[in-house]
Symmetry: C2
Subunit: 336 residues, 2 copies
């Protein structure tokens, strides 16, 4: 059983290779019955076109690259998985690369991808993205960590956070702390603005009286923990009755800090996270969190690269709405 090629299919179907090729590519000018016959033979023979040959003569490689900072981050791994499924549905495959948040590595990976003639790149930039030169003429979609000047797709972080904070406000909380992401990160600032939106709108500014309850931290667990310690290390009637964390990992770190300080959750402290990673439902108690629509984001990114959907304008990214997942870490505040 040697490998079957397009000529074998053509011979058996009694047509020319050109016709078979047209069938394969859904070219309109081929009659229904010929198409049916050829497709039958293809299935019988288990014929699979050789991607190398296709991409040599044609221009497409049916390969798309995805570059992310860290696959260990559950948010990104879900992104990759969703993208892989979406791409597979269109006959595309994914080359995955991790930059480990290292700008030089990131640039190198992107160069490798271009020389592979990928049909497009999904990029989650490293944190020093400003040093990054993207190649022209290759479709690139920037995802999640939007870069000014490039067209991107992401969850609507700002309104998502607002949603979460409003949930806390509705429960009656007023002293709501916020654990922010790293200051230079675009999504971190979006999230911060969402918090400020909600708080300012809450009751005309009086809510914000008193010391600011904002702590800046990296997105990881350990940073969330120390930020939590910082926010909670004050007198009971001054410390926040609720904390919104910019990532689930931060939120879980913060839960740990509260636990170590002997502050019961949610009795004395409500916590809301952001991301909606699977881990969020595995904590004790289960974390209330704002879920990003990762699958939608990934599917849209793939669709844009495959021209199934028009690319977003520069500086006017496509945003997908977040939704709140209620867990067990939120409750009305106790009286002081």
């Amino acid at each position: 059983m040697s490998k079957v090629g397009i000529r074998d299919v053509a011979k058996l179907a009694g047509v020319s290779t050109g016709t078979v090729s047209r069938v394969l590519n859904d070219h309109p000018s081929v009659t229904k019955d010929v198409r049916a016959r050829v497709e039958g033979i293809i299935k019988d023979l288990g014929y699979l076109p050789d991607p190398s040959a296709r991409s040599m003569r044609g221009k497409v490689s049916r390969l798309i690259g995805i570059v992310i900072p860290d696959l260990t981050n559950p948010f990104f791994s879900e992104l990759v998985q969703s993208a892989e499924q979406a791409a597979a549905n269109h006959g595309y495959n994914i080359i995955v690369m991790t930059s480990l948040d290292h700008a030089a590595k990131e640039a190198d990976r992107i160069k490798q991808l271009t020389s592979r003639k990928v049909d497009g790149i999904i990029l989650v930039p490293s944190n020093d993205f400003h040093t990054l030169k993207l190649p022209k003429g290759l479709p690139i979609v920037v995802v999640d960590r939007l870069m000014p000047g490039y067209s991107g797709i992401a969850a609507d972080h700002r309104n998502g956070v607002r949603l979460g904070v409003e949930h806390l406000l509705k429960l009656g909380h007023r002293r709501i702390g916020f654990i922010s992401g790293p200051g230079h990160s675009v999504p971190a600032n979006d999230r911060l603005r969402g918090y400020l939106d909600a708080m300012e709108q809450a009751d005309g500014g009086t809510t914000m009286a008193g010391p600011p309850l904002i702590a800046e931290a990296a997105f990881d667990y350990e940073s969330g923990r120390s930020a939590g310690n910082y926010l909670l290390a004050r007198a009971r009637n001054e410390r926040p009755t609720a904390i919104f964390a910019s990532s689930d990992q931060q939120a879980i770190g913060c839960m740990r800090a509260a636990h170590d300080l002997g502050i019961p959750i949610p009795a004395a402290l409500s916590i809301v996270g952001f991301d909606g990673i699977p881990l969020a439902s595995m904590t004790t108690p289960r974390l209330t969190t704002v879920k990003q629509p990762i699958q939608d984001v990934a599917a849209a990114a793939v669709a844009v690269l495959l021209n199934k959907q028009t690319a977003p304008e520069l500086d006017d990214p496509i945003l997908f709405a977040c939704e709140i997942l209620e867990g067990e870490t939120t409750a009305p505040p106790q009286p002081d």
Copy 2:
């Protein structure tokens, strides 16, 4: 600036295309000065060979495929990340595919990879692997979930579990429960044997008196939780004082079960997990777990595929030792 091809290089260097090709592939029979001249021209022109064309006629694609059941599982995402780094060090790239534990999808993905002419495949088989026909002639390394009849690489689950159970024995535990993996899974059975090894060796069988303390479950959180409920739903002097779970996710689910039953950890119950995923250090209290050497496994798999290392014999897999990470979920048992 039209694209430069091998013929352009050949013409400028005053040699034939064949010679240029041999320079590109480090073929020995080409003189030093010719090689130098050609390499100079290549650099001048910024020539980059077209990978599709190379892999069409030639046999190597510098691409390796990796097929896993679920990228959302932190164990697998770390595996992929490690493999990507290892491959990149050798100029190779990774095509990642997820089967979602669906045998048909898995077979389809493998077919896609072979038609892409990947130079090798790293495979973590789905749970119904027995229906799987692997193509001959393509180097495949089976990782983690070893398949009888194929050469594989994995962590030494059996001895790893034994290590963890012995840790509990040393603390003084005797009624040690075990949450097993799904019965048809090869690593699940390896882990179970590790448990039995340790228990039998402990004190000549007397330890095993009484009802068996083994619960079978899937590897996920929810299953761990119900297995925990099952093991703990008995009188205090009959229920286990310690539980070894076959995965960290199970262990965390089990912690949740204990918490719901009002059993304090580690005071009244010690728990040890298996895998060593990052999540393990984020629980409260921190989970004691047996860490698999994922990076070593991934690096070895890549090395084997690239012929940097001789492949393991069939049915004699390469095993890497696990190590125990002490957390806060283990303590000596309370008297009954």
